[in-house]
């Protein structure tokens, strides 16, 4: 689990940045062009999967520690719920697009348009990215554990047979 060759490591450390940037673009321009929070979040998570494949699990754990990832996950969910409740408080009903209707109409095809939609996209992107990262991390952790368990059982069994 110490990663792959130097070539793979070098290339993936460059490509990872581009993938991450593309994910941010997909999230930020979700209300103008195809894409959105979910697809962008998955792209963000896949950049970390690339790191995990090339460098191994321990490197990624140092790069983005698990407590921070789970906090980002909670932060995304909290922001999305906060936007919904702000709609209830300011606009009068749950999830109403109060920014567009009252404060910040914006021009169509501009980055600042659509009211709360880009903000919701941002929250969902954060949430999906962090939680898919956690899913993959949990899966690799479990794989590691089941392998060590199997080895332990195997050694136990061989020990018994020797006795």
């Amino acid at each position: 689990m110490k990663g792959m060759t130097v070539i793979v490591k070098t290339v993936s450390s460059w490509v990872k940045v581009l993938i991450f940037l593309f994910g941010i673009y997909i999230i930020l321009f979700g209300h103008l062009s195809p894409g959105g929070g979910f697809a962008g979040g998955v792209i963000l998570a896949s950049s970390y999967v690339l790191l995990m494949l090339a460098f191994g699990r321990e490197f990624v754990e140092k790069n983005l520690p698990l407590p921070i990832a789970s906090r980002l996950d909670c932060l995304g969910a909290f922001l999305f719920a906060l936007i919904a409740i702000l709609g209830l408080v300011v606009g009068g009903s749950f999830f109403v697009n109060f920014l567009y209707q009252k404060y910040l109409p914006g021009e169509p095809f501009n980055l600042v348009s659509g009211g709360t939609i880009p903000l919701s996209n941002l929250a969902i992107g954060l949430k999906v990215g962090a939680s898919l990262f956690l899913v993959i991390f949990a899966l690799s952790m479990f794989r590691y554990d089941s392998e060590s368990l199997a080895n332990k059982r195997l050694s136990d069994r061989t020990g018994e047979s020797k006795e």
Binding site: L32, G36, V42, P108, G115
Partner: protein, 183 residues
């Protein structure tokens, strides 16, 4: 239109191979081929949002499945089929086939939206009033974050709950319990 039938035949062949092959890695790759065919089909049906999501999730799922598959010792599946199970599955497939023919007769042509033939439907309202109601030029986003934001909240809650469950089950304490069941 021919491209859809080519893709459909490709996906059906890949699905049959994925079920029938004895090689686990080949089966995983065939599942990935089905997903990529599906995303191509979404692209030709002019649904780029779904195509992007499908292809990204497909890549991620394929990587996870391959990592989970090739590290296992058991990459080949052996064993014969049961006679009773085969008979039951053939009967179920026949029933679904007969029912499906009736359903497909009622459907519009492939690639033609059902709601395009009706007037006053919700989708027509979204297309006509989406920009002035929400200000977002991507109508898919304006549907799932404005008109139907409750759905998105539910989806986010499902994902959140799944992560919490996974992290609780796989946390350090339970891992130690798993390693030492007697302690």
């Amino acid at each position: 239109m021919a491209i859809f039938y080519i893709l459909l035949v490709f996906m059906i062949i890949a699905a049959i191979i994925a079920v029938e092959t004895k090689n686990l890695l080949g089966s995983v790759i065939c599942v990935g081929a089905i997903g990529f065919g599906g995303s191509l089909m979404f692209l030709f049906l002019r649904a780029p949002d779904i195509a992007i999501t499908q292809i990204v999730v497909e890549v991620l799922g394929l990587i996870i499945l391959i990592r989970a598959t090739i590290s296992r010792d058991l990459t080949f599946i052996s064993g014969d089929r049961e006679f009773f199970g085969t008979v039951v599955s053939i009967v179920i497939i026949l029933v679904i086939f007969v029912a499906g023919i009736r359903v497909f007769d009622a459907l519009p042509a492939f690639g033609e939206p059902v709601f395009a033939r009706l007037t006053g439907t919700a989708s027509e309202t979204y297309v006509r009033r989406g920009l002035q109601d929400t200000g977002a030029t991507n109508l898919v986003t304006s549907v799932y974050l404005d008109y139907r934001a409750y759905d998105t909240l539910g989806e986010a809650t499902v994902l959140f709950t799944a992560i919490i469950g996974a992290m609780v089950i796989l946390r350090d304490k339970s891992r130690k319990l798993l390693e030492e069941p007697d302690a």
